[in-house]
Symmetry: C2
Subunit: 304 residues, 2 copies
């Protein structure tokens, strides 16, 4: 079992969907990632919160395999984001983003975490992602996320860090933008040539597409759900389930990667069932196992 | 093996995509459906063409298990449609639709075809779909397609015929519109309550979702393709591969339905590789078998 060092945001979110509202609830990419990954392995968070975060630390991360030695608490307010979703939950609008204490965030890796075998670089400035890799010994596996904001504004910094990334997780429109190519298969080849040997393309309610070593792909649908309350954090939860499971495996091969995609999809399918991390906090290992089996039923067919 | 009676359009299409153009080439829902289904069973087309269709009949349908006794040739011009696709091939604009001889089309089922065990009602006026069912003996299985045009303009006629349909194949936006429900799982339940016990929701490049008898779903991705030239007819080809395979099975159960989805996806993945029905006309049984196996690789994961 390989511990994962995970750098990213821990935040307060305010969310409005057609099904309800939640105000100043715990969010942030590193939060969703860490809770999901902790079902499979130890997670070492590197992040920053303000002194207003208070008892949420214990409430959200307590009693889990989550190490907070790299989480700084500094005077000021925690990162805040507010978003509103449309009726189909696929479109969302950012009402505000207040970086607050996150604006001056410089990831500092505690000495005891520098030899972490797995590293996950959440969706922060690509130069900060590089800084993290500069501070650690060469890990067994580096996973990373990015977004259109960095693809458009800091493409050179992004390309520099991509050379050091093994597994890149991005959504389909980001993959097309990064590669400058509308066809997803060709876009995947171009991105692999930039560094990441494995590309995981997230398609929201349409599931996930992943490159395989032989040149082919693995594809998984999302679980069809009757009640989706809040899609916030689904992608980060997917990343946590995916890398968390991989880190728990003896070795990383195509079969392990395929199962990791299903574990990522499993965790993400729970995350959207309630606001914030509420469903993840109530989640039991047995729930995870049961839904993994449901994914098998969802996708299995016999060859005759 | 059950012969399929298939009613729908046989047409001339003009198509423009970012990768090229094709003018006055053979198209039409019944055309794509019949060629795809004929890989698995005998297909009996009920359609109309003008006297300008000429040698295309032999070129497209000749040498296949396709019975043309129900295909009328009448004086006048064949149905013509022109469409243009955007760069991502997901959006298309109809430049014109000339119904021509199709405007007066009244399906007439030849006596020898009235006992066809499988019936496919292509995307025509729901009252004509009902007319077809009135002319045949109760089939073992009735499959049907429809579109937003009929959902919006003739909802009562559509609901009447849906009561007599076993398997409805529609795309995701049509399913949402027909049910008046944004959530696809809830939409599926509502449509099942209208009659069809099996609902097949086509999601284009994102694959297919199908209801299962136990209350669950079966989901399949589309094959990721490097070169998609022309998406025209992909849905009709899917329907042909799906129902054609089902008709070739001893019985229709969840396992057969799941394989049928993969055969439908297999045929559709070929259809888009060239303009019109060109790729389907060159297709061999071995190609179909090989790509079916590729779908297994694309989606398979082990439970450990």
């Amino acid at each position: 079992m390989n511990p994962i060092l995970a750098v990213g945001s821990v935040a307060f979110d305010s969310i409005k969907t057609p099904f309800g509202e939640a105000s100043r609830v715990v969010g942030g990419a590193a939060t969703y990632f860490a809770i999901a990954a902790s079902f499979f392995t130890e997670v070492r968070i590197v992040a920053v919160v303000g002194d207003d975060f208070g008892a949420n630390l214990e409430k959200v991360f307590g009693g889990r395999r989550i190490d907070l030695a790299g989480l700084e608490i500094v005077p000021g307010e925690t990162f805040r984001w507010k978003g509103e979703y449309g009726f189909d939950l696929n479109s969302r609008e950012t009402v505000y983003t207040h970086l607050n204490v996150f604006e001056q965030f410089k990831p500092k890796i505690p000495h005891s975490h520098k030899s972490s075998p797995f590293v996950f670089l959440g969706n922060i400035h690509p130069t900060l992602q590089s800084d993290v890799l500069d501070q650690v010994q060469r890990p067994k596996l580096v996973g990373a996320d990015t977004m259109n904001y960095w693809i458009e504004r800091t493409p050179e910094d992004l390309k520099k860090v991509l050379k050091r990334v093994d597994v890149l997780l991005i959504n389909d429109s980001e993959a097309r933008a990064l590669a400058g190519e509308a066809n997803l298969v060709k876009a995947a080849r171009k991105i692999q040539a930039m560094g990441p040997k494995t590309l995981v393309i997230k398609r929201g309610e349409h599931g996930v597409l992943m490159t395989r070593t032989g040149g082919g792909f693995f594809a998984a649908p999302a679980m069809p759900l009757e009640d989706v309350f809040d899609p916030t954090g689904a992608g980060d939860t997917f990343a946590g389930g995916f890398l968390g499971y991989l880190a728990s495996c003896e070795g990383v091969d195509d079969a392990a990667l395929a199962r990791a995609i299903i574990y990522g999809s499993t965790l993400a399918s729970f995350a959207v069932e309630d606001f914030s991390v509420d469903r993840l906090l109530r989640l039991k290992q047995d729930d995870v196992t049961a839904r993994f089996q449901e994914f098998k039923k969802l996708t299995h067919f016999d060859v005759v």
